[in-house]
């Protein structure tokens, strides 16, 4: 194993240990079960998601406030449309070319589902199918920005993935 692989292993171990302690506390019994569960979870996580698309943690944290802001806007917007008597909706579709690896595309889809007015519904070729709640509201303008943020998180560089 090279140095990179050890670093990845160490980060995953830290992460799974933290999740275990949050889930089950620091009782002796909980730690005893954790001594088996944590290595097993770490092994499984490395099998399912090898460390080659390195998630840059601080970029993830840096994106968190704008994610919370966006999901607040998204929730308030959809609640307003649901409750207002006229129910202002103008549903429609856009297809957006996306230059992200598969995992990144799923992450972008999940994120868009929580942002105002957008909902990902799979891909056609290399284009992401996005449902819009209101085609006049300009919700689709946020998509390239979110794509760049996700690209920055998994690749460490957001600049070469433009709109």
């Amino acid at each position: 194993m090279d140095r990179q692989a050890w670093t990845t292993l160490f980060h995953r171990l830290l992460f799974t240990s933290a999740v275990w302690i949050v889930l089950s506390g620091t009782d002796a019994k909980a730690l005893a079960v954790g001594a088996f569960a944590v290595p097993a979870a770490t092994w499984l996580s490395l099998r399912l998601l090898p460390g080659r698309d390195r998630l840059v943690l601080w970029r993830f944290l840096r994106h968190f406030p704008s994610f919370v802001g966006g999901s607040l806007q998204g929730g308030v917007d959809v609640a307003r449309r649901a409750i207002s008597p006229g129910m202002p909706l103008l549903p429609g579709w856009v297809e957006v070319p996306v230059r992200l690896p598969d995992g990144g595309r799923v992450a972008l889809g999940a994120e868009l589902s929580l942002m105002p007015g957008t909902l990902a519904a799979g891909v056609r070729g290399d284009r992401l199918l996005v449902h819009l709640l209101d085609t006049d509201a300009g919700f689709e303008n946020a998509i390239p920005r979110e794509e760049a943020a996700i690209a920055a998180m998994i690749l460490g560089t957001g600049k070469e993935v433009g709109p």
């Binding site: 649901a82 549903p91 990902a120 799979g122 449902h131």
Partner: protein, 94 residues
Amino acid sequence: MNDLATYAFTSIGLFFFVAGSVGFLRFPDVFSRLHALTKADNLGLGFIALGIAFQAESWRLVALLFLIWGLMLLAAGTMSQLIARDALRERDGR
């Protein structure tokens, strides 16, 4: 003071759950309904977790509440994409 924060934030959370359910019933098609469920319920659970966090006796419980919220976000984001993809396939007859 903590109780007040709990009342305030859980009420906001309940409001979003109600709004999401209203949207789920009123919106015209499966895609619009998914918007209502994912976005409003995300905020609903987030605010309820925030409200309950003011009653937590330790930082571990606060972390646990937000871990639950995070897992719910992941599940909502993933499930809504799967349901939307499937509904689109069915609609287009593919």
